[in-house]
Symmetry: C2
Subunit: 371 residues, 2 copies
Amino acid sequence: MSRLKSVTPFLVMDILRKARSLKDVIHFEIGEPDVPPADAVKQALSQAALEGKVGYTESLGLWELRQAIADFYQRRYGVTVAAERIAITVGTSGAFLITYAILLSAGERLLLTDPAYPCYKNFAHLLDIKPVFAPIDASTDYQLTPQQIRDYPGIRAVQISSPSNPIGNVYPAASLKALIETCEAQGATFISDEIYHGLTYEEPAHTALEFSDQVIVINSFSKYFSLPGLRLGWAILPPNQVRNAEKVIQNLFIAAPTLSQYGALAAFDEAYLRQTTETYRQRRDYLYQALSELFEIETRPQGAFYIWANVEKYTDDSVLFAKQLLDEIRVATTPGLDFGQNQAHKYLRFAYTRDLAHLQEGVRRLQQFLR
Amino acid sequence: MSRLKSVTPFLVMDILRKARSLKDVIHFEIGEPDVPPADAVKQALSQAALEGKVGYTESLGLWELRQAIADFYQRRYGVTVAAERIAITVGTSGAFLITYAILLSAGERLLLTDPAYPCYKNFAHLLDIKPVFAPIDASTDYQLTPQQIRDYPGIRAVQISSPSNPIGNVYPAASLKALIETCEAQGATFISDEIYHGLTYEEPAHTALEFSDQVIVINSFSKYFSLPGLRLGWAILPPNQVRNAEKVIQNLFIAAPTLSQYGALAAFDEAYLRQTTETYRQRRDYLYQALSELFEIETRPQGAFYIWANVEKYTDDSVLFAKQLLDEIRVATTPGLDFGQNQAHKYLRFAYTRDLAHLQEGVRRLQQFLR
């Protein structure tokens, strides 16, 4: 069982469990969209169900969906991606498992940032891959730098997310390009988690595919498309990795859920998606402003639906502080420790996945408690 | 990429691909049910879709579904299983990944049979677990024996399936009990793949849970319930492994697909299930009889939807023979080599996942070709 020893449970899950058992809790801890799915998607799912579409699809996914995703890249980014390079996966979770399995052998090193989405390192632990952590902070606007990649000559792959969880920062095109070039010069594969693409409030985010077709891009219908329970994502692979990915999918998953794939065909609804972005933008504008008056927020979040707040003027232990906020004012947040070790005790993550009135009530309680 | 080197692609997938490109093919190669899903399930899926049930469930699954499965064990087997011990998974594929991850560290040994379902060993390879193979054949009615378990003192887990893929044999209660006792005496965990339970044509199969609560039982909605595309299965765990499984699910999957879970609530429809078993029983009766006149079938299949046919009177290379059958009479089968190395060249697997008329046409072609 040694592979499990390093796998961390989410602290937020325990907070979630406690938060559920309490009444009248304000939810800043939830990384799941609250925006209802598009009607067209609900109808498509229902229709596919009534038609009895419950057989397996091909392992790499429905061809129409792979094409729809290729079209989306053409439309959104002006990037031509062959549908053959797109693998439909069981969420980004499935995409990460496949990506790590095809890129890294046991004992090989994967460069992650600290802080980062905690599952990255846990996937690595489960596959006996060695995660190494590059600390990121406000000094580089929470971006990994090319120098940090060069500091680890033996690494096989580098993984970032932009817009990032838990910070919400977005890598500019030039930064992304420099990281990819540095990776390729070192023979490491660049893995770009783009699950929060579309949820950007200044400039649109750039896809790593604009700079190279040797990267692996991972995305999903769980955030921007408001469909987390479909458990549906995708990976865009270098051409020579598609067959490897197919072998892993055949064995680990057989295929992604069928109804979900039919539903997703209806998810590329531009008007709905624009409205979704607008909803989160309004919340970002409000919550960033309000929390800035209470905490130090080093990086104005430009994407995703998170704010990374430095709370050290109130505490030197943000886990304890999160528990205190939940116990005393029923405000649930995620302690920094869920995302790494690097100065984690100073930070809380606030998610804006509830409506403005809910966020306002949370701010009111915080103001009263912290004044 | 060394972990991928040992992962075998399914030969049947290549045959499937070719079979799809041809017209008028008889399909004996497909391990996927053709029985349409129950109307109640289609309605439940549609209803859940229209209600917008697309959020995540808890990692271990919808509590009502875990309870419905617990009730099913009480009703079917007279076994009391706490719903808390049931984890809802992304198919049996997800259940195997979780089970192997929590039981076996890199380098530890897992005892499998040869032949067996090929994914077992491929999951092991992906996790750097060492599969060891106990050959099984007609001399023990294709059952693993307690002595074979004792032959491998250091193994951490033993995995069988009953009814089995590819043979269709069913372990009697006494055999199952003896295997479990032998495992426990050696400190190995017994893993029982029960995905074909319900599809039995003589006696009902026994669940390993009748003999111990330290086993791990894996099952799914993909075969007996005719819902493969839902990608929904379950694992029943020893109480002290539930928390470990939850940690792995949180990280590897987040949760199983939500709509699928709501649909599955309607899947325990006894009249529909009886009819499904009856459908396959008729096919088994016909195909076993008909193929027995052409090939040597050493073990009358009592469950699943497969017949394991010894074809050595026609060939000493069943892969070549399968290709020949596909090319010359458009009859698709699965060569034994997909399931292992042990005398694999002598065998073909025939699946009866098409209606009687289709099977009859296949037999007619085989008779003409082989006469």
